[in-house]
């Protein structure tokens, strides 16, 4: 039997009826057509489905849609504002942190969750924060560089504004 749920997704209130076994990943991808969140394993191993739930990065394949009821979800689609890339997204583009791009949305959101809590992370802190997001293409180096770059840009923006 379906349950009515409400949550905020990328700043907008969403109301829907879902089966109790529907995962947040399925809900986002199939019901809301937010396909930027990727399905890589369905087991919480790869991190491709990472979204930010109430400020914390989670594997959306391991969260039921009903568990997100009343909460705030940020997906990759909610990061750019008015068509402008978020500094993390921009840094990923500029630094060559993207290859196939399949891990990218989850990777960027893990980085976002990190920088929100820790604006000046060390390299080890960055590597630890993204260690649940597997990437088979890059060897991670350019991803780490992109997060460092983004941290600098975000830091600079806040100081000047």
């Amino acid at each position: 039997m379906k349950t009515i749920i409400q949550m905020t997704v990328n700043g907008e209130l969403v109301e829907s009826a879902v089966e109790p076994n529907r995962t947040l990943l399925q809900f986002l991808r199939e019901d809301l057509d937010l396909t930027g969140t990727k399905h890589g394993c369905g087991l919480g191993d790869c991190g491709a489905c990472t979204v930010i739930l109430d400020g914390k990065p989670v594997n959306s394949c391991l969260v039921l849609a009903v568990q997100a009821h009343g909460r705030e979800v940020l997906t990759i689609e909610g990061l750019a504002e008015n068509g402008n890339l978020h500094p993390i997204q921009q840094a990923f583009v500029d630094k060559g942190a993207i290859q196939c791009g399949f891990c990218t949305p989850g990777m960027i959101l893990s980085a976002k969750a990190l920088l929100d809590e820790n604006p000046k992370p060390s390299e080890l802190e960055i590597r630890t924060a993204i260690s649940g997001n597997l990437c088979r293409c890059t060897g991670y180096q350019k991803i780490v560089e992109a997060v460092q770059e983004a941290a600098t840009v975000i830091d600079g923006t806040e100081v000047s504004s």
Binding site: K38, H39, G40, C46, K95, R136, G139, Y140, K142
Partner: protein, 783 residues
């Protein structure tokens, strides 16, 4: 020399923003109204006769729209190489591994399809199975394919020079054996596809593949559809690394079910099914002997390979040839003998993976080199430099090194790693090691015998002259080929990169053999360059007519046109352009004629401006059996130095530093080149230190998940010092050649040589887990 405007830069990749904001569409992101979902029934047994398949219950389940088995699919045999078509879409008579496909179901949703799969009743008669390649070769072993007695799938015997005689004359002969483990490519995107037929019987198959062209051919052949009626479209692909280089049962099932039901059909592999489909790195056993003179001159190599192929051939024939041919360089040899055997076992099928066929044997050989150098008391770097090939050398198996910056790579990593101050000077538990390797820039021949072009490209200029669109069947799978082609087109046309668009991965656009054997930069690059040159020449010729000058006096660069280096008297062209575009927001301006105005003029004179390019390599290689495998128009090469720390108490290995130099010819895009280098090292590090697909005693994969099959995380990879070495490759577009696979060649042996330096122990079996190294340390203590 490098007077480039677009090439050789660090231009951000053109698909970066779409991927960064989550708008890039991958196969599983596609939906179609009315689409059905399908699932596959796979064998739970490794080897069994199929006595009966009863689909009646599945068919009766509400929501099921079609159930197909070999009865419906037919028995057309297919595979990668026509010489070994040993698969049918669905197993009939018998199954040969846990995961062999038996049936597929299309239903209104995935859950129903999966439920229906469970309702298919298959009666099996279990047969004895064999999982070990050496057991499979023994007399009396279970026979997996009737046509291949002794489970011998492919055998290669090659000799260049007289190896035994050469070895007999050597001052020193050193032997070595080596065993790697079956690897999984572990791309993050599982295979996914969506098949749809239109009303006139035309199939469009959207699929996560590296090779739209080969998928088109195989699907057409297996399902009996005229090849002209099959269109394969590749959306963005979440990594391939080799296993997505062939048509899959997923794609063929979806197409068959779409035809049967008249509806679009969507299918995905689960992560477990990715492991079962496999087609990834083989397990190789290497046995080799290297003969040298006292001064370190390499003379002869005897090399034997046994490959565990799994249940079917896939790319296996090429793989077993590569294990021999890719040791022909980058060192000079007077004699080389190779015996290779690929053996069937009742396990998922192995195929091509990054560094196809070459990685394990390169690892064995580069270890052997170090062992030999140690016995001779020669520094491993010096030993390599002494024997190294240079531009213009031809290997003993007739591979032409038309450019080869191997020496430069070795010197770059030696100096970049401070080798001289570290080798032999590090404390116990710390070690440094090096290795080299090379790889093809595109296979010299297509997989099927054909005179086909390997790449064709169409470039079309918009009628306003402002945008050039590159249309190509080549496959962007993350390596950056779309960006590479855009850059080549922009440079050739003399326009900014932002004025070029790329539409790719669609068999309706052009012929392209796809993303394998590191071929697209060179081959698709050539075709792109030629197409762009055609457009540039056409514009020049129309302009010359209009301006009453010679076409040779006209040059294109940065989006502007010069006549003998001057602006020229072009005002009437501009006036006409502006009149025709009255009210538009972007009238051409500036001191010079723009490309846009020139291209518009060409359109007015000759209609839509289109250029076409094509490429196929010349006849390459020797005339001995198997000479085709290993040929290429050009070869990339690389050298690496790795530093490790070993915990002598636990055997735990930490890779501290990696220094990597790669000769990719002209680096079209320096960031993308580094990306390939670093990604290769990461995959090599994983294979060396922890990756292994494991099986239970009944042939079931024990670790079919990315949790239990561990690939490197951000915490496992050190930062890599990446050094790009640029030779000028005469056969590459603008001198460019490969980087995507050659870079993985030295990684495993460089790590192993570093471990040996740190511990004094030669490990000859992968992966070097802490357990394996700990046991080796214990054994050494007790010895």
């Amino acid at each position: 020399m490098k007077d480039f405007k677009v090439l050789n830069t660090r231009a951000p990749r053109i698909d970066g923003p779409a991927k960064a904001v989550g708008k890039a569409k991958y196969a599983d992101d596609l939906t179609m109204p009315g689409a059905l979902y399908a699932a596959i029934l796979q064998s739970p047994l490794a080897h069994a006769k199929i006595l009966n398949i009863d689909t009646s219950k599945a068919r009766k389940l509400p929501g099921v729209k079609a159930v197909v088995t070999s009865k419906e699919a037919g028995l057309v045999r297919y595979g990668v190489s026509p010489a070994r078509y040993d698969e049918t879409l669905f197993a009939h008579e018998k199954v040969r591994y846990v995961g062999d496909e038996i049936a597929a179901v299309a239903a209104v949703d995935l859950a129903t399809a999966q439920e229906a799969v469970e309702l298919i009743k298959v009666d099996y008669e279990e047969l004895p199975a064999v999982f070990d390649m050496f057991e499979a070769m023994k007399e009396g072993a279970p026979q997996i394919h009737d046509e291949f007695p002794g489970n011998m799938n492919a055998e290669v015997h090659q000799e260049f020079g007289d190896t035994d005689a050469a070895l007999a004359q050597c001052d020193l002969v050193v032997d070595h054996t080596f065993l790697n483990k079956r690897q999984d490519a572990a791309f993050i995107e599982p295979h996914s596809c969506l098949a749809v037929f239109d009303l006139d019987g035309r199939l469009t198959l959207h699929t996560s593949t590296q090779v739209p062209h080969y998928v088109m051919r195989t699907v057409a052949m297996v399902l009996g559809i005229p090849v002209g009626n099959v269109r394969v479209v590749k959306p963005y692909v979440g990594g391939g690394f080799g296993p997505k280089c062939e048509a899959t049962p997923l794609e063929m099932s979806a197409a068959l079910l779409a035809r049967t039901t008249g509806k679009p059909v969507k299918m995905n592999y689960t992560r477990e099914q990715v492991f079962l489909h496999s087609r990834a790195r083989h397990q190789f056993y290497a046995e080799m002997s290297l003969g040298v003179m006292k001064d370190g001159t390499m003379v002869a190599l005897r090399n034997k390979a046994v490959l565990d192929g799994g249940a079917y051939t896939s790319f296996g024939i090429a793989t077993v040839y590569y294990s021999g041919s890719l040791l022909g360089g980058p060192y000079k040899l007077k004699a080389m003998k190779y015996d290779g055997y690929r053996v069937y076992t009742n396990k998922p099928t192995c195929g091509a993976q990054r560094g196809h066929g070459g990685v394990a044997h390169r690892a064995a050989f580069e270890q052997l080199l170090d062992m030999t150098a140690e016995k001779l008391g020669i520094d491993p770097v010096e030993m390599r430099l002494k024997n190294i090939m240079a531009t213009g050398d031809v290997t003993i198996n007739e591979l032409d090194m038309s450019s080869l910056g191997m020496k430069e790579c070795v010197e770059a990593v030696r100096d970049g790693s401070d080798w001289k101050n570290k080798k032999g000077k590090l404390p116990k538990g710390k070690g440094i090691g090096m290795a080299c390797g090379f790889f093809v820039s595109g296979a010299g021949y297509p997989i099927y015998r054909s005179d086909t072009y390997h790449s064709t490209v169409v470039i079309k200029v918009s009628e306003d002259g402002g945008v050039a669109t590159v249309l190509t069947g080549s496959a962007e799978i993350g390596q950056g080929s779309d960006t590479t082609m855009a850059m080549i087109a922009a440079e050739t046309l003399g326009i900014p990169l932002s004025h070029v668009r790329v539409v790719s991965g669609d068999t309706d656009l052009s012929v392209d053999l796809g993303a394998y054997s590191s071929r697209q930069t060179l081959m698709t690059g050539h075709a792109t360059k030629e197409a762009a040159e055609q457009i540039r020449n056409a514009i020049a010729s129309y302009l010359a007519e209009e301006m009453d000058c010679s076409p040779e006096s006209i040059s294109f660069s940065d989006g502007i046109v010069k006549f003998d280096g001057q602006p020229g008297n072009f005002q009437h062209i501009r006036v006409q352009y502006i009149k025709e575009h009255r009210g538009w927001t972007d009238p051409p301006s500036g001191e010079y004629l723009t490309f846009r105005e020139a291209a518009r003029l060409a359109y007015l004179k000759g209609g839509t401006l289109v250029g076409t390019g094509k490429y196929k390599p010349p006849r390459l290689g020797g005339s001995y059996k198997g000479a085709a495998v290993g040929t290429s128009p050009a070869y990339g090469c690389s050298a690496q130095v790795v530093e490790v720390s070993v915990d002598m108490e636990t055997g735990e290995i930490t890779v501290d530093n990696m220094t990597d130099a790669h000769d990719c010819g002209l680096a079209i895009n320096r960031t993308l080149v580094e990306g390939q280098m670093q990604g290769s090292l990461s995959m090599g590090l994983g294979e060396c230190l922890f990756e292994e697909v494991k099986f239970d005693s009944r042939g079931r994969v024990l670790n079919p998940s990315l949790g239990e099959y561990r690939i490197p995380t951000a915490l496992d990879m050190p930062n890599v010092k990446s050094i790009i070495v640029e030779s000028s490759e005469p056969h590459g577009p603008y001198g460019a050649k490969e980087v995507g696979e050659g870079a993985i060649m030295p990684t495993i042996p460089a790590i192993l040589n570093a471990i040996s330096d740190a511990t004094g122990i030669r490990i000859n079996e992968l992966p070097v887990t802490s357990e394996r190294l700990f046991m080796a340390l214990k054994n050494k203590e007790n010895a």
